[in-house]
């Protein structure tokens, strides 16, 4: 395939995916079977009786009788002229409010990035120090995993209570100056920095065995210089992932925006999706996709810039990650597993639904995790919820592994769908799925699966290209093997191990995304003890009865630490294809 044909496939893939999203959102009311005139009426006037006259008036006003195609056509015509349309709910032009919201979101992201950079720097300092001292790399630490597993909405509420009420340093809400950005930036930046820091630390550990480091040290290069060189060495491989984190921060910060009353893009898009305000929703999705594309392009540009000559000549050096797994490294995953299994075993026999205890009873021997606001046993609820939350997360992980593997084998055609799925925050997808199918655990699982395959596919695409480029695979056609045989007998087996490991690393992120949907009321419905719902129920009492929120949050953190620490163990085995590790998409848990 020629260069031009390749570029044509990529462009066509992008355009088709964009068109698909626009058409899907445009058809939302017809897919959901919920009449948009009713949701618009409810948004404008909550307790108004939905008389046929009122509904007919709205339908005529919005031009809904023309059907989805005509609506979409006139909307597209407007977009071409730079007119994003008029909001169905407020009757005001969408454009200015979207621009303002995007400005707020990007400003907030800027502040969050500062926090994230500091956090990441702190987290990868130990790994860097080991490299400089010539010690072997180690699996990344607990701190990063724990930070990444902290739900933003919990962090936001805790920070609000501590930073605004107890300390009185920052305003509790609003958006009128840098001081009001501090708490939300912390709530968003800490988990993001935890994620990036862990990725960096892992990559630094992987790079530590490269020979040039020894050569430099023998040549007497100072430690600082080696450290800088190592960071620069690992950054190119991570730019795509960092861009993904930024995209996630821009559109996915709904809960933080809600807590601190920040008029950002996530809240606007979520509100539009809930009231089926199609023009606002379309515009919101377009802006999110646009931001995602800009970050994505900037990431690849930065990668080329950093790699310089190497990327043009196709001789990107390859890291061969080795880390030494010592017996005492079993302690952490073992303890987490014991804690999790012990909780589930102790709680499964108890009753999670009956209100048999005083409201918000504190932890005691009889009631180890305390009771929630309805007087229900929290140990029982966390244990029963584990089956829902972790079980569902496992299924979603398996599905995204399978889909990601299959789609990723078509590296160029999959560019568009992957970018779109990466750009859409799980929360927004959750709203769309809930709009069509109602809120349920299955709906939440489908929503998370719809976006979580994309990073796997990106990883497969990048790694697959490299496997195909390796000498022993390139020689196969000469030996008479057809393309299908090459793919299924050589490429897929070589990818299977690293891709599975990559997917398992995403498990905590997926569990967290599921919990976030449950928290926003887009997942399972009460009285289910799913962890996100438990968090939502406990959060209002975070100050009076912290156990009600910390029991499910602790369970999430333990799950995350378990998954992350186990991934270090699987890395111990020698690699069949060491090339894979240098791909643009190292293992991450970027489902958030």
């Amino acid at each position: 395939m020629g260069d031009r044909a390749r570029r044509a496939v990529v462009t066509a893939s992008r355009l088709l995916s964009l068109a698909g999203v626009v058409a899907l959102v445009g058809a939302l009311p017809w897919l959901s079977g919920r009449s948009p005139e009713l949701s618009v009426l409810r948004a404008r006037s909550a307790e108004q009786e939905a008389t046929p006259e009122a509904l007919a008036a709205i339908r005529a006003d919005l031009g809904l009788d023309q059907g989805p195609l005509a609506l979409l056509r006139s909307w597209l015509g407007g977009v071409v002229r730079g007119d994003l349309g008029t909001s169905w709910v407020s009757g005001r032009p969408v454009g200015p409010s979207i621009v303002a919201a995007a400005g707020v979101s990007l400003t907030l992201v800027l502040f969050a990035v500062v926090v994230a950079v500091v956090t990441a720097a702190v987290l990868c300092t130990p790994a860097l120090r080991r490299v400089v001292r010539g010690e072997p790399g180690r699996p990344s630490g607990v701190a990063g995993a724990a930070l990444t597993a902290l739900p933003e909405f919990l962090l936001a509420s805790v920070l609000l209570v501590v930073g605004a009420v107890w300390l009185g340093w920052f305003p509790p809400y609003g958006w009128d100056g840098p001081s009001s950005a501090v708490l939300p930036a912390l709530a968003m930046g800490l988990p993001a920095g935890g994620l990036v820091g862990r990725l960096l630390a892992d990559a630094i550990s992987a790079a530590s065995s490269e020979r040039w480091i020894v050569s430099w040290q023998v040549a007497g290069a100072p430690g600082g210089q080696v450290a800088r060189a190592v960071v620069r060495r690992v950054l190119p491989a991570l730019t795509t992932q960092i861009a993904l984190v930024l995209v996630g921060l821009t559109g996915g910060a709904v809960a933080v925006e809600q807590v601190f009353a920040i008029p950002g893009l996530g809240r606007l898009t979520l509100g539009a999706a809930q009231s089926q305000d199609l023009p606002a929703l379309q515009a919101g999705m377009l802006v999110l996709l646009g931001i995602s594309a800009v970050f994505g392009i900037a990431a690849s540009a930065l990668r080329v810039l950093l790699l310089g000559r190497a990327v043009r000549s196709g001789s990107v050096p390859v890291a061969d990650p080795t880390s030494i797994w010592r017996p005492r490294d079993w302690v952490l995953p073992g303890a987490c597993l014991a804690l999790l299994v012990g909780t589930v075993a102790a709680g499964l026999g108890r009753d999670p639904f009956t209100s048999a205890h005083p409201r918000l009873a504190g932890p005691s021997w009889a009631l180890p995790f305390g009771a929630d606001a309805s007087g229900r046993d929290l140990l029982a609820r966390v244990a029963h919820g584990a089956v829902d939350t972790v079980g569902t997360a496992l299924v979603v992980t398996a599905v995204s592994l399978l889909v990601g593997l299959l789609v990723g084998l078509l590296p160029r055609a999959s560019v568009g769908p992957v970018e779109v799925a990466n750009a859409a925050p799980p929360v927004i997808v959750g709203v769309l799925v809930a709009a069509v199918a109602g809120s349920s655990l299955t709906g939440a699982a489908v929503a998370v699966a719809l976006v979580s395959w994309a990073p796997v596919a990106a990883y497969v695409a990048a790694a697959g290209t490299e496997v195909r480029a390796s000498a022993h695979v390139r020689v196969l056609p000469v030996l008479g093997l057809g393309p299908a045989a090459v793919t299924w007998r050589h490429v897929v087996p070589a990818l299977l191990g690293p891709v599975t490991r990559n997917a398992v690393l995403r498990l905590p992120g997926i569990a967290l995304a599921l919990a976030a949907l449950g928290f926003l009321g887009l997942g399972p419905t009460p009285p289910s003890p799913e962890w996100g719902l438990l968090l939502a129920e406990g959060l209002p009492y975070v100050e009076r009865a912290p156990w009600a929120a910390f029991a499910p949050a602790g369970a999430l953190v333990v799950t995350a630490v378990l998954a992350v620490s186990l991934s270090g163990w699987s890395r111990r085995r020698p690699r069949a294809t060491s090339e894979v590790a240098s791909s643009g998409a190292p293992p991450v848990m970027a489902a958030r």
Partner: protein
């Protein structure tokens, strides 16, 4: 810290870029003067409200209640505590015939944009509401026309309507200056009201600014202005009160009220009844004795204490303490006798998640019903996904928090839609001739003591069927900083900051 990825860029350039970016982006913060929070020295009141505006503060939507809570937009008539009409922009009114009313418009009233209030403009504002698509809810089923006649506005209805003055008190029928009404049908209340405060700026969904209007026709406002923030999160609103960020805070959640100084929280009874609707058409509750058993099984005090921490009123009837005359005039109620529930009688119990306390109420109701022999299956969804099923009678029992008086301050419309054969919100599927007759009599009565007595008779007729079990009446918790005086505590949530409100010193 050596791993900061940007550290190989020249420091000077990075610094310059960062500064430029910060300068550019600082334009992205809100421009509102909301930073004045809590400082009473300037005489401004800072207010934290629950819901951001949904419809650009158009008075033809639910946002109308914000305009009246800020005393910026006014209506021809206002309601007193009993729900009786009192003069506002209209000084006087009289019923001309069955279908015609004549309102005298107050003279000497100036709109915030400097124009004078005329009968023509008052009629034009009402006409704009009747021509809106959809009409505001207060005009549901009312064919209303308004024309100016000298200094009077003549209001005509399609059918005889004894409640015309009460209807005109709805904030959705506020009178705004001609400049408020754009050709495309949008209505802007910025600088177009008549109230003691002028809305000068709206900052999207994050805030609004109001200044005292010096040419107000009545007593001028004591405070020099209002700074409004919209804060959807309950923890943040409570924090606003605790940190002094806001002087007045709307709707503090029950979960936070316990953390606040009891001196600062004020509970206002709401005209909202948390009711268990029982399906009278099919299933076990078609039998009145089983309905009576469910009624007797409910322990309302436990629900109030557990879910609402005592911050609600145990319901005696459908109409609660927000209508003080209801408890005074209510006679002895005849409830259906409780029968024996056959063990294992299976029922479905529906409710929705949009009001956070309803699922918690459902947990307790399920337990109390199971204690007397029912087997309960819960079905809890988002309201948008459960309304149609509930109205179709898909549940044996349904928990709903229902507003008992809408904009007219009159409860008959609510009872008619919920309990008459033709009612459009008849979750109980009730069709009882005695109830219908009582409701018709109440609906036809003129406003006043007689109508209130008939409304209570209709309530008694509904309760006698056992189709609805009123459980409790909610209260809204209003937070006021020490020193704040004159903030209205209005059960109808129409008034909040008035010309008498001050933030104190």
């Amino acid at each position: 810290m050596s791993a900061v990825p940007t550290h190989r860029r020249p420091w000077l350039r990075t610094g310059a870029v960062t500064t430029a970016a910060a300068l550019l982006l600082s334009g992205c913060f809100s421009s509102g003067s909301t930073d004045a929070g809590g400082e009473a020295a300037d005489g401004r009141i800072s207010l934290a409200m629950l819901q951001p505006p949904r419809s650009g503060l158009s008075p033809l939507s639910d946002d109308a209640f914000k305009l009246s809570r800020w005393s910026t937009a006014e209506t021809l008539v206002v309601l007193d505590a009993d729900g009786e009409a009192q003069p506002a922009l209209a000084t006087d009114w009289a019923q001309v015939d069955d279908r015609t009313w004549r309102f005298t418009v107050r003279s000497g009233v100036t709109f915030h944009d400097g124009t004078e209030l005329t009968a023509e403009q008052a009629a034009a504002s009402l006409t704009a509401a009747t021509e809106a698509a959809p009409q505001p809810r207060i005009l549901d089923g009312v064919d209303l026309t308004a024309v100016a006649d000298g200094d009077d506005v003549v209001v005509t209805t399609g059918t005889p309507d004894p409640l015309v003055p009460q209807r005109l008190s709805s904030p959705q029928l506020a009178v705004l200056a001609a400049s408020a009404y754009a050709a495309d049908g949008t209505v802007s209340p910025v600088g177009t009201g008549t109230g003691p405060f002028e809305l000068v700026a709206v900052d999207g969904t994050s805030g609004a600014t109001l200044d005292r209007f010096d040419d107000y026709w009545g007593q001028p406002a004591s405070a020099s202005g209002i700074d409004v923030d919209f804060v959807p999160d309950g923890t943040a609103r409570a924090a606003a009160l605790r940190t002094g960020t806001a002087d007045v805070v709307e709707a503090v959640p029950v979960s936070q009220a316990g953390l606040l100084d009891p001196e600062l929280v004020h509970e206002v009874p709401m005209p909202r009844t948390n009711t268990l609707y029982l399906n009278t058409a099919s299933g076990p509750f078609a039998d009145p004795a089983i309905r009576g058993a469910a009624q007797a099984a409910l322990d309302r005090a436990t629900v109030v204490d557990t879910v609402y921490e005592g911050r609600a009123d145990i319901a005696e009837g459908l109409l609660g303490p927000a209508l003080p005359w209801a408890a005074e005039g209510r006679g002895e109620l005849a409830l259906p006798a409780a029968g024996t529930v056959p063990a294992g009688t299976a029922i479905t119990l529906g409710t929705f998640t949009d009001r956070a306390e309803l699922p918690e109420v459902a947990v307790l109701v399920q337990q109390q019903l199971e204690a007397v022999g029912f087997t309960v299956t819960q079905d809890v969804r988002e309201y948008a996904f459960i309304e149609a099923d509930a109205l179709a009678g898909a549940f044996d029992a349904f928990i709903l928090s229902r507003a008992t008086v809408l904009d007219s301050g009159d409860p008959v419309a609510y009872m008619t839609s919920d309990f008459s054969c033709e009612g459009s919100f008849n979750i109980s599927q009730l069709c009882d001739p005695a109830v219908d007759a009582a409701l018709e009599a109440a609906a036809a009565a003129p406003a006043g003591p007689q109508r209130r007595a008939l409304a209570l008779e209709a309530e008694a007729a509904v309760l006698a069927t056992g189709a609805a079990v009123p459980m409790l009446h909610e209260r809204v918790i209003q937070g006021e900083q020490a020193g704040v005086s004159g903030a209205a505590r209005d059960p109808r949530e129409r008034v909040l900051i008035t010309s008498e409100t001050t933030a104190g010193d």
